[in-house]
Each structure stands twice: as C-alpha cells, then as structure tokens.
Assembly symmetry: none
Homo-oligomer: 205 residues x 4
DNA sequence: AATGAATGAGGATTCATTCAT
DNA sequence: AATGAATGAATCCTCATTCAT
C-alpha cells in the first residue's frame, strides 16, 4: 500500500546522485536567471549549464517558476544568515545599523546574480517578493522596539521606520553594490549611519 | 528615389488623426503593461485595448521596447512635475522632504500602473531605469548642497544621502502606496520626516 | 469605440484571402487527422500540407481540439445532407431504411478520413461524438413514430429501435465501407433490409 | 555466453512475487487507461497506481502498447465467457439473442473502463480491435447458420446479419450501458428482441 | 526483481514583427 | 494611415524508454 504524494508536493531526490543533480541545477539556474532574467532565461539554458539533459529539470522542479521561488527563498535565508553573522553580539542598535549597511553592500556585491533574482521576483512571483521583505520588516520592527525600550533610540513609528530603512539599504545596495563600486562599503555605511543616527537637522551636536 | 529617414528616427504622426491614434496606443499600453508586466503584455493586447488594428502599432513605434521606454520617460516627467508642483515655494529643505514623501505616496497611489512600469524597467530597459533615478539623485544632491550652504541641514555625504532618501521614498511608495492603504500618506510622511530630521539617536531634543 | 469579442469567439476570417487559407487548413487537417488520428497528427503536419506557416493555424483556430470539433460537426452536416438527398421523396419507411443503409455505406467509402475522425471523437471530444449521434437518434425516432402512425411499421419502443438501427449502420459502414470492399453496398443493404423488415423469425412469409 | 530470448518474447514472471507485481500493474493499467484513454494515460500513472517503481513496468511489459493489447485481449475473453455463461443451455437462437443483449448491457455496465479500452483500440491497435470483433462475428455466423439449419430462423445472409447484430449490441451497450442508465437492461433487451424477431413490417402476427 | 534517475525527441502554443492590400 | 493576414523562431513541458545501482 502506497501513499501517493499530494499534488503540489516537492520533488525530493531520494538518492545522493539525485541530490547532486539537483544542486547542479540550482547553481546553473542562479547563473542563468542572474544573467538573463526570468523571461529570457531558458530551461534548456539551465540544463546545458548544469550538464544534464533537458528532461532532468522536471525530475527536480515542477516548473520554471517553482525553481525561481526556491531561489528567492534561498536568497532570503542567505541574507539573513549573513546579516545575523555580521551583527551578532552588537548590542547597540545604531552601531548595528551601520554594520548592517556595510555588510549588506558587501553581501550584494558577492551575490549580484541572486540580488537581481530577488528584485525581479516583484514581477514574477509577487508574493515571494513581498514575503521576502516582510520578513526583514518584521525583524526590523522588533529590533527597533527592543532598542527603544532599552533607551538606545527615540520612540517613533517603527513600522514606517522599518520600511524606510529597508528602502535605504536596497537602494544603496543597488547603487553602490551592483551598479558601481566607486565607494567602499565602509564609506557608504558611515555616511548613512550618520544620517540614520542624527538625521539632517543641524542639531546641537 | 526616396530619401529614407535615418534609422532610429522617431515615428512622428503627421496628421491629427495620427496624433489621436498614437495617444490611444500610449494609453492602452500603459494599461496593458501596468496590468500584465512587460513580458506578459502583448502588442495585440495593446492594439485591442486601443481599438486599432495590430499593424497600426508599427506606424507609431519601432518596437515593443521603444514604447516601453517612452512610457518610462513619460513617467519621469510626470513625477518630477508633480513633486515640483507640490514642493514649489517651500524654502525649508526639511519641510520639503516631508511634503515630498507625502506627495510621492499620493502620486504612486494615483499611478500604480506607471509605477509598476518604472520598477520593471530595471529588467527591461536597464539604462532607462538607472537614468530615471539618476535624475532624481542629481536633483537631490543639488538640493542638499544648497540647503547645507543655507545652513538648513548639517553637512554630509550628499550623494549617499541622496540615494538613501530615494530608496526610502521608493519603498514607502511601494509599501504604503501600492501594496496596501493602511496608513494615510500624511501619517507616513510625518513618521519618516521625523526620522530624516532627527535620526534615531535619543538626542537632546 | 470597439467591442472586443467574447473570449471563446470564433476566429472568423475577414478577407477572402483569409477565407481561402482557412479552407486550406480545414482540408489539410482532414487529411492529417484521417491518416494519423488525433494524437499522432501534428499542427505542423497540417500547416505543411496546407502550405502555410505554422503560426497561421492559430489565426483561424484556437486549438487543435477546436479544429477537430469543427471537423466532426462538419461531418455531421455532410452525412445528414447526403442521407436526406438520397432518401428524399421516399414515403415508405422500410424502403427508406434500405436505401439509407446503402447510401450510408457509399458515403463512408467516399469519406473514410472523416469517418475515422468522427469515431475517434469518442475519445477526443466526447460531447461532440455523443451529440453527433444524438441528432441521428432523434431524427430516427421521429421517422419511426411517423411511420407507425401511418401504419407502415409495427408500434414499438422507438428510442431503443433508433439506437439499434444506428449501431447497425455504423458497424456495417465500418466493416463494409472502411475495412473491406468485399460486398457491394447494395448487397449489404438488401441483406440488412430483410432483417429489418421481417426479423429473424421464420414467420408466415 | 547467454542465450538471449527471441525478440518479442513475453516477459513472464518467474516468481510469485513477480506474478503479484504483474497483476498489480494490469489492474492499475485498466483503471488508468479506462479513465484517461490511451494517449493521456501515462506509464508513470500506472506504476503510481500500482505502487511500484516506474522502471518495474518494463520488467513485465515491452511497451505501453503491448500492455494495452493484453488488456483488449483479456476483455475479449471476459466478454465471451460472460456471454457464454449467460446463454449456456439456451437452445432457441431468438431467445438467446434477447438474453445476449441483456447480458451484454449488464456486462458493459460492470466494465465501463474495459469497454472504453476496447473501443479506443480502434485507434491504438487497429488489428486487435478488428480481431476482437471478428471473433464475435465468426461466432455469430456459426450460431446463425446452426439456427437456420434447425429451422429456428429464416435463411439469410449471415455474415451481414452478424455484423448488423454486433453493431446493435455495441451501440446499445454504449447508449444504455455507458452513457446513461435510464432503462433497465431487460427493457432494452425486450425492445430489441422484438425488432430482431419480427422486424418492423406490420406482419400478420 | 526493484528502484528511480536520466534521457531527449516531440509538440502545442505564443507573439513580435513584416507585408500585401 | 489603417488593416489584418502571414511568418517562424522560440520555449515550456510531457513522457516512453533506458540504465546504473
């Protein structure tokens, strides 16, 4: 007696050979999507890069889009781990913010293909895109609230702040991480940290 | 013997009837692209919405992409006019910033289709996208420099600040203008204005 | 102001050239489907036979199946016209039955490809198949009832009789019209007419 | 050095476990083909229903078509056994005919999937289909000849009669056995028996 | 005997663009 | 200027069959 898997069930490899092939496809897809974008990327391009037959793609993924989503979700995990690793142990929120910007730009520079994939998800898998940032927004809000309660930052509308800070990071990542390298990540981070910390007003400092 | 126009020359209508057709196509394209995105939009969809024959499209545009670029560029002008109109006469940069955020969110809400088009341009007409924001960044930098020289804001790295502020606006527009309406634009603007003005540090205020 | 056609609207040619192309496709499809059956027939095979480009197919039909249905329906009309023409003016039902069988076998012999198409419709477009025969069954029942009221035949269960008679015709058409020609249609018709008229019982005749 | 079996040799299981697997595949195939038809049925669908691995299919069958033919042939045996069982001991041909129609409709109702398989064989394995009915036709002819010589029925063209009677049964089975249940098999059989026995002519009875 | 990964030919459909009228 | 038919390259996905384990 066998239990047939539910319709939308993931296609999980059952052997180590399969595991290897799946990974080759994932890597190839990352390159193909990153270079050409979702629409100009071809399954045949992916399988050729991976060095497997066309049909093998469908042994591991239900569709082009499913694979795309897998990549977006993977990128989310990578990003969060990277940021967590780089800001671990920093108790001061403002300092964490500066380190975060710097780490993020560095990360983007090292993952331009995946960054492009995430950005394009807005038009390919809107829910995945929104979900991707929602996780960050939620984290941010929690961090801001905690910092407020510790007296590290002034109280304020944390949700709006969270989205504003995400937007900053995203565009700085785009401008200084993807489009051009004319500033070091540390420079950018310093400039922005100042903005985040004190704002623009010619205060008393 | 005819003198053929230089390649790449714009296809300009010569009659008022042609002018009307061109406009119908532009409007239809905006709807089609806004709804379906560049890749899923079809020329035939555009001409059907416009109520003209398929072939007529190529009387006015060289290609799908050319039309797309025209739309992006049009959006740039609309946005700048809108912001200029709404911040005209405001001498104080910090106040202008708040009004700008508010106006931008309102603008996005009224032009969701065009906003989507601009965002997707990143993957369809990268140079147009970059150009679109570069104009804003340049404006921003000029404004910040001027405000600095007037003593309205603290001196700082204006280029980085410019991109950071653009990123804020874009994501707030996305989150509060396109994705959901759960905050009034004024609320969002107020929250962010506070951030921009004073930053997060629990300063002397 | 244009009214866009309803989604499932037929693709009607608007020019005489289009009319010609559509007909070429219909003829080619008949040959292709008749030879290879629905599943082994290829759109590319049809367009090659028709001498038009692959894409032209979709200018006239929404899908392979839609064309198939058109053919089945066309065959229904042809058959009914043929039978009506050949049994017109025959007042006696029993004689009409004999002439009908003969005409049907002749018809099948001249339209083997379409006959195959109809038969396979059972598995491709079940409703079209059922509809095809239902029309005949209804006609039959009407004819039997009328003949009964004229005293030409014994009263009986006309619906069951109708389907039985259709079944006869279909299988005789298959056996003597499509599979082999070892009997003339008149011979077959005579043999069957006797069966229909007197049954098998060794009655008084 | 091995002696390879002659090409086309049946793949016979050597163990009872193999026997069991083969039967599971046969049952699964019957369900899959019956539901989806030959072309939409997939080997993977069959093996999934059977609860065995895809590759195991080819341990027992050379191809999809071979299995199909096995099913058609199996259905032939089942049908003949059923009819033989139900008409055994009936000496009167006309009564046997009535009982036969009734039994056939009942049989079809209980084997809709196999009936569909047989019908589609016309397009998948034409020779198997023709053979299937040829056996019945031969039987029929023999029976009719015997009945004639016993004086139970009027002499006539038995081959044509045989195919006519088969056609009746097939279509009645389709209409009243597969498509709808709006008549009991006995009712249908009675109506048709009358037709077969006396024909339609308003004879002396 | 059983497993499930790998293969690659094959086919329907879409769509930007061109062309004849 | 307008029309709509014609083109054919391009691509996703399916699936029977083979093969290595």
């Amino acid at each position: 007696m066998n239990i047939s898997p539910p319709p939308g069930s993931p296609k999980t490899p059952r052997t180590s050979r399969g595991e290897r092939t799946r990974r080759k496809l994932l890597d190839a897809a990352r390159a193909e999507f990153g270079e050409k974008g979702f629409y100009d990327a071809a399954i045949s391009g992916i399988t050729q890069r991976a060095g497997v037959a066309l049909g093998s793609f469908y042994t591991y993924f239900h569709s082009k889009e499913e694979l795309y989503r897998a990549l977006v979700s993977h990128m989310g995990e990578l990003t969060r781990h990277w940021l967590a690793d780089h800001t671990a142990g920093i108790d001061d929120r403002l300092q964490a913010e500066r380190i975060g910007v710097e780490a993020f730009i560095d990360f983007v520079r090292g993952h331009k293909d995946l960054y492009r994939i995430v950005m394009e998800a807005q038009f390919v898998a809107h829910d995945a895109y929104q979900g991707y940032f929602q996780v960050f927004a939620d984290d941010y809000r929690r961090n801001l609230a905690a910092a407020t309660s510790r007296g590290q930052i002034r109280p304020g509308a944390d949700e709006e702040r969270a989205w504003a800070l995400i937007g900053m990071n995203v565009f700085l990542g785009l401008r200084y991480g993807v489009w051009a390298d004319d500033r070091s990540s540390a420079e950018v981070a310093a400039a922005v940290a100042d903005l985040i910390e004190h704002g623009l007003a010619p205060g008393a400092d």
